[in-house]
Amino acid sequence: MEIVLALVIGGLFAGGVYMLLRRNLVKLLVGLILLGHGANLLIFLMGRLIPGRPPLVPVDATHPVGLFADPLPQALVLTAIVIGFGLQAFALVLARRLYQSAHTDDLDQLRTTET
């Protein structure tokens, strides 16, 4: 199954990079979102895949029984998702404000600070 997920990650990165290189303000952000998804899935996969069991300790046990998924990558991905959300939300609103201010969503038109 890892190979399938590796392909999914690759696909997300390919799509993300393609969108990242577009001239459109929004597409660029879509690209970043796709890349973010890819990165999250990648970290998740790095804990190796253990189907089924969540890392929960049964009520009357002191530690988890049998095979369980690696909780650390989950925690990392969770944090990364939330942080990513904050940054993406900010970037989206920024893009909207930029559009309102510059009246264009074409990045090639947005070069005033460097010329």
Partner: protein, 769 residues
């Protein structure tokens, strides 16, 4: 800083004589006491003693404030402080009432400190520190009249040329120190054989020469010196004739025992010196501006000094020491006098000056004395001794003696012309009206020139009639310090009718002849002078302009403003570095991980991939948002399949929020339009697929490495017992790695503050408009 100057501006009626003195007299007390101090050391040094001492400065880098006072340093120190005293008095008169006089003195004293530090340093890094400070103070002083663009440009030129040389010197010094094993001069002086046999010897010498030649205005770096005449005349007299430009000479002399006596050293010095000497002298007599005449003649003198050091025989070194002193005396005097003339008449153009002899008698005397010394015309003057020694050195040079003698002869002929231009032309004949009605300069302006010129006479007297005085042994120790062998000095102005006498006579006659025929000759030579149009000056300008063009071009090329291209560059850099490193350092090594593929998982994976494609190709914003949502939800399903319910819930919630925000923000943005060309799209698609492939490969490569998490067993073990929670993921978030979560919610908080500011600010901006 200004009260003393303010009083200077007012008419001094009814004030005591003390108040009428310019502030220079008081400032001069400082260098005067230094001069006396150094003079007091002559005894010890003349006896052959080397006075040393050392204080740690930056011991971690091996840099100490050491001093090393031998004959060579003391000669320089005396010149610096002595001429400095006179120049400071002079400047007080020259810049009387100037509102920035205080600043001028600060710069001048900074320079003096730096110059003294340079010649007295016993640590080569400390020496470099002072070396750079002289460049800096020279920059500030050349640009003193900074409202004139010319002054600014000249200051910059001097700084760039000497600063560039300085950097080369730094590299040279560091290499020298590393080869010689110390930054201390006293140690290095014992290491000459080690250093000269080291493979780095050649680069060291070249770097040193760059430093010395730029500083001492050797061809082709000489161009900054005439331009530096934009500085107030006290500066020209002090820095650009008597002292700073001699720093390069000092450097060559100081390191001659360590680096010298090799063919490369001698050849480069002799050749460069000869060219500079001739060129300077040739250009000098063709000028009409007094200061420029003197500046070119200074270049010539510096060339002579380098030449003499290059010849390197005992007699040449002796000649160098004497000529160094002689030149400083007469050139300092002439510069100051030129400034006095400028100050009192309003012009420095020799075509406008005539008959000043009557109105400026004292200045006239001073200039005449100095010019006679310069021309080396009469055995009465120390200049004659200098000239004599130079001829002697040239005649006895180990190689190319006749060539050198010829060059010296030609140079000296030109020098005689220059002397005439300075001393005869402005003073004799009918008085011509000048921009300012000419009258004699005040005491402060003629004292310096007269004293320096007079000293030329006095020295001869000392040498001639008091042979056992301190002076000769002192000069001998100086020469010995340079030559690294015992040099005997026995100087006499008159040594009978010999080859040198005839040479001197020939020089004088040729000079007088050339002086009378100079206008004709100048016309004759004017076509040749067109060649100077492609000289170093032009190269400097071109380089500067070229630099500007390259800089602008490069910046436009790199910082072009197209964000997608920036991102492309970064993506390609990333992919290139990682792909190259992976392939060359590790190789392709991907395992196959087909174990346990289940249908529903494959389905979700395919859905995610399809949604990705949809998000990429879709032309509608809503469809893109929907596709993004699909991907997010697909991911949360995957998380569910692989035992991550918390993650799935979070992903689900965040995805929903993102979709809402996307919908809200994109509402007013225009629909997607096709902006890039097909070629561009193809290129990007190729890049994207490469990156995607690379990431997949990387992931699969990493998965071949067996991984044993070192952390997970601990979490599993202690989650309940110590952290009292059964949901290990949550325990990690709020306990094991709570600091991450604290950071995370802070990020969220800042993001919210930012979004709020973005949106509300807009409202305020609109209200303001």
């Amino acid at each position: 800083m200004t009260p003393a100057i303010a009083s200077e501006q007012q008419p001094a009626n009814g004030k005591s004589w003390l108040h009428r003195l310019n502030p220079g007299w008081f400032v001069a007390l400082l260098p005067l006491s230094l001069t006396l101090f150094f003079a007091g050391l002559i005894c010890r040094v003349a006896a052959g003693e080397v006075i040393t001492g050392s204080y740690p400065w930056v011991p971690s880098l091996g840099v100490n404030l050491s001093f090393y006072i031998d004959g060579l340093s003391l000669v320089f120190a005396l010149l610096i402080s002595g001429i400095g005293t006179l120049v400071i008095i002079y400047a007080g008169g020259y810049l009387a009432g100037h509102p920035q006089l205080g600043r001028f003195y600060i710069y001048l004293l900074l320079f003096m400190t730096a110059m003294l530090g340079l010649v007295l340093s016993g640590n080569i890094i400390a020496l470099f520190v002072f070396w750079e400070l002289t460049s800096l103070s020279s920059y500030l002083l050349i640009g003193f009249n900074h409202s004139q663009p010319k002054a600014r440009a000249s200051a910059l030129q001097a700084l760039l040329i000497t600063g560039g040389g300085g950097l080369a010197l730094l590299a040279g010094l560091v290499l020298l120190g590393q080869v010689g094993g110390s930054w201390e001069l006293s140690t290095l002086l014992t290491q000459d054989i080690v250093i000269q046999n080291h493979p780095l010897y050649l680069p060291i010498v070249l770097l040193f020469l760059l430093g010395a030649f730029t500083k001492s205005a050797q061809f082709p770096f000489h161009i900054w010196l005439p331009n530096a005449m934009a500085a107030p005349t006290p500066v020209s007299a002090y820095l650009h004739s008597a002292t700073m430009v001699k720093a390069g000479i000092f450097l060559l002399a100081r390191f001659n025992p360590i680096l010298g006596n090799t063919p490369i050293w001698q050849c480069s010095l002799t050749a460069t010196g000869a060219v500079t000497m001739l060129l300077g002298a040739y250009l000098a007599w063709q000028q009409t501006d007094l200061k420029r005449i003197l500046a070119y003649s200074t270049i010539s003198a510096l060339g002579t000094l380098v030449l003499l050091l290059g010849v390197g025989t005992a007699i040449a070194v002796k000649a160098a020491v004497v000529f160094l002193i002689v030149h400083s005396l007469y050139k300092g005097a002439l510069f100051m006098a030129a400034g006095a003339i400028d100050h009192e008449t309003g012009t420095r153009d020799i075509n406008q000056l005539r008959g000043l002899r009557r109105v400026m008698p004292i200045t006239f005397v001073a200039v005449t004395l100095a010019a006679l010394s310069m021309a080396g015309a009469l055995p009465l003057f120390v200049g004659y001794i200098g000239k004599k020694l130079i001829y002697e050195a040239a005649l006895t040079a180990p190689s190319a003696a006749w060539l050198l003698t010829g060059s010296v002869l030609l140079t000296n002929t030109f020098t005689v012309v220059v002397a005439g231009l300075v001393a005869v032309r402005p003073f004799w004949g009918q008085l011509k009206p000048t921009p300012k009605p000419a009258h004699e300069a005040p005491l402060s302006l003629w004292l310096g020139p007269l004293l320096l010129a007079g000293l030329g006479l006095l020295l001869v007297g000392l040498l001639e009639f008091v042979p056992s005085s301190l002076l000769t042994p002192f000069l001998a120790t100086s020469a010995t310090a340079i030559a690294d062998e015992l040099v005997r000095v026995k100087l006499a102005a008159w040594s009978g009718v010999n080859a040198i006498f005839w040479l001197s006579l020939a020089t004088l006659l040729a000079g007088i002849g050339l002086y009378t025929g100079r206008n004709g000759l100048r016309r004759l030579l004017s076509p040749a002078n067109a060649l100077t149009a492609i000289g170093p000056e032009r190269i400097y300008e071109r380089t500067l302009a070229g630099l500007q063009i390259v800089a602008t071009g490069q910046t436009r090329l790199l910082q072009h403003g197209y964000l997608p291209l920036y991102l492309l560059t970064i993506v390609l850099t990333t992919a290139g570095l990682i792909g190259y490193t992976l392939l060359t350092r590790y190789g392709l090594n991907i395992g196959t991980h087909w174990s346990g593929v289940r249908m529903h998982e494959i389905t979700v994976a395919v859905v995610i991939l399809l949604a990705t494609i949809a998000a990429v190709v879709s032309k509608s914003r809503l469809a893109t948002i929907a596709a993004l949502g699909m991907i997010g939800y697909g991911l949360s399903l995957l998380f569910v399949f692989y035992g991550a319910p918390d993650l799935a819930m979070t992903q689900l919630a965040v995805e929903t929020l993102t979709v809402i925000i996307l919908a809200l923000t994109l509402y007013h943005l225009p629909r997607f339009s096709r902006l890039s060309s097909t070629a561009g799209r193809t290129r990007d698609a190729l890049v994207a697929l490469t990156v995607g492939g690379l990431v997949s490969v990387l992931v699969l490569t990493v998965l071949t490495v067996p991984m044993q998490s070192r952390l997970t067993p601990f979490f599993a073990e202690n989650s309940v017992t110590l952290a009292k929670g059964r949901n290990i993921v949550n325990v990690i978030l709020v306990d094991f790695r709570a600091l991450d979560t604290l950071g995370e919610i802070t990020v969220l908080a800042v993001a919210a503050i930012g979004i709020y500011a973005l949106l509300k600010q807009q409202k305020q901006n609109e209200q303001n408009e």
